[in-house]
Symmetry: C2
Subunit: 379 residues, 2 copies
């Protein structure tokens, strides 16, 4: 019997990161997941409990609660006003719809390598052609406009920029973003700037390319900064031209973002949980140091020092002769040491030879997990 | 400057229903919206308040909380097991992804006329060709397999079935569904069965085409039956073949449905709010009678007696010479009588000449709204 699936579904499946996480039983130490171990701030949960009975829990306007759109427009470095903001089901929906809205069949979408694997899958779903721009491991995965320009062709329609970068932890310098923006504007290339880790940085505040160009979608969420991944609350800001079609598309896709999450997001952006948020960010800074010191103490591996995100790449290239590629290593560490890591190949070719460890895990798990990884390689 | 929008975005905008609702100021009587006036049942809100502090509010598995998927598989008339259930962001996401997953460029999608307008818009977004099958006003919009077969061509890939039907309120008879299912299976046509109004019926329980064929997606939600539209919680059940790509696609689109809503959905399906749900359904039954008696009392209009949903179509065809088409009438009633209605043309050609009134509104609004509509035509 013939398949009912559309062509664009070929090869669509859950991401490798998710599948590896699903393989792990609860007794494993999880250094694989992309979410903080902190609960959602107590003040936000209390706000919900105290106010839910007074809320209208029917549909919100498609694009979101006006007050929330206004707060986001005010806080963003993008110059888009509130009516160019759409509240989305996490940053994932914003990303998915941004590519549906801009990519025609055959258009090339430039994607960071290493980079979040869903960029490539979504590009294929919208009939676009994913092309990678390499962030060179030999240059510590640095983001350089001159290097990226070489990957642009006459068919490039969209470039995805992700700073702070998952998985490298790099924060892109403002002067490189400015230089790239000028180049993109010259060639009428649209930018999708995924800034979901913007609040999680260890040196200077991560700049946004939206300061330098208007033809971009800026994507962000409360998931990582407020430990609200399960609440599914994100947003994007877009150019005036996209306003009507994007909000229409969003209505067709999900109608509106969950209203309880929107209500709580207003309170979060008004600052009622700022103290706990900052405490958690401080704790992430400590865990980053812990992760680096544990790698030095328990392993003989090099690592890429992150400037943002809660990920750290450890270099296992010298181990490949004995232990196989990054996926082999991940699967073996999972089986033998009960530690979940993510193989670099999940992020593209340039990620091969690295493992991504998350230090959003609890400190005792960071220490024990890295100790076991060290033990794995010592044997 | 050239547009950055993809071709498929041409003409995508918020639905006419939404735009009319957005035009209305809060002082208007709203007989236009697709949601009950009841609050979400108190027992569900209490359950949330009492338990949220003990919940993990990070990501759920992409396809949803296992317990919820299991409950849905058990309650559905579809034979799909729990691992062929995906929890979605309301029924809207399920519909959007079902068409992405099955429609190739140029494939024809058969859509009910009159029918929910987003069917057509989504079909265009996925590069499909929308074709309408007419539910004939002269036959009281009855669903007859023989009539529908005539609209099927060699290019028909998918048919959308919506029973109880929005806007006609028709519940499709099981023997017609069975007959159509046999015809669809012969021709390898896939069915998308939108059953979001399944719990809202006034005579016999609405049957599902999924009892008669496997190659279909069944879509449902808690939105209408539990007054949870803003919670964005729905689901679909699909054939075994779609399991991996559909859940992968869902991950790319939204990652997972909102976790708080999923947790509350488990409690709802376990029955903790059954009493309030049934009370509300009884109240809707009373409001249906009220709406019919008000139409008889205050207007000289015919109407289509609904067997399900909370909509009633009133026939304004004889008014068109004096008052214009259904959109003109809707806009004039809104301006002059401050009552929101939905023009039949929002649902397709076969809906033209009718207005859709929602009796999910509060009784005093139903009465006053219909009184004003009567007044509008009497002048």
């Amino acid at each position: 019997m013939s398949s009912f699936l559309s062509q664009r579904m070929q090869g669509v499946e859950q991401s490798l990161i998710r599948r590896i996480n699903d393989m792990a039983d609860p007794s494993c130490i999880n250094l694989g997941l992309g979410e903080p171990s902190f609960p959602t701030p107590e003040k936000l949960r209390d706000f919900l409990k105290e106010n839910i009975d007074s809320w209208h829990l029917g549909y919100s306007p498609n694009a979101g609660i006006p007050e929330l759109r206004k707060l986001i427009a005010e806080k963003s470095s993008s110059r888009a006003p509130a009516d160019q903001v759409c509240i989305t089901v996490g940053s994932e929906e914003a990303l998915f719809l941004s590519l549906i809205a801009t990519v025609d069949p055959g258009d090339e979408v430039l994607i960071p390598d290493p980079g979040f694997s869903t960029y490539e899958t979504i590009t294929k779903i919208v009939d676009g052609v994913p092309k990678k721009y390499t962030l060179d491991p030999a240059k510590n995965f640095a983001f350089r406009a001159d290097d990226i320009e070489k990957f642009i062709s006459g068919k490039t329609k969209v470039i995805i920029i992700n700073s702070p970068n998952n998985p490298t932890g790099a924060v892109y310098p403002d002067k490189e973003l400015e230089k790239l923006a000028a180049f993109l504007m010259d060639r009428q290339i649209f930018a999708v700037s995924d800034e979901v880790y913007q609040d999680i940085f260890f040196d200077e505040l991560p700049p946004s390319i939206s300061r330098h160009m208007e033809n971009c979608v800026v994507i962000n969420s409360l998931s990582k900064s407020f430990s609200m991944t399960g609440w599914r609350i994100g947003w994007c800001l877009f150019p005036e031209e996209m306003k009507i079609p994007f909000i229409g598309l969003h209505q067709m896709a999900v109608m509106c973002a969950p209203v309880i999450s929107q209500k709580v997001a207003v309170a979060a952006l008004q600052g009622i949980a700022e103290e706990e948020k900052n405490k958690n960010l401080e704790e992430l800074r400590r865990r980053r140091k812990l992760a680096m010191s544990c790698i030095e103490k328990y392993t003989d591996l090099d690592y890429v020092k992150p400037s943002g995100t809660f990920y750290i790449l450890v270099d296992v290239r010298e181990k490949s002769l004995r232990f196989g590629n990054s996926l082999d290593i991940t699967l073996n560490i999972l089986e033998k040491q009960k530690v979940v890591t993510v193989p670099g190949e999940a992020f593209g070719k340039a990620g091969e030879g690295f493992l991504r460890l998350s230090f959003a895990a609890a400190p005792k798990n960071i220490e024990e997990g890295i100790r076991r990884i060290g033990h794995f390689f010592m044997k």
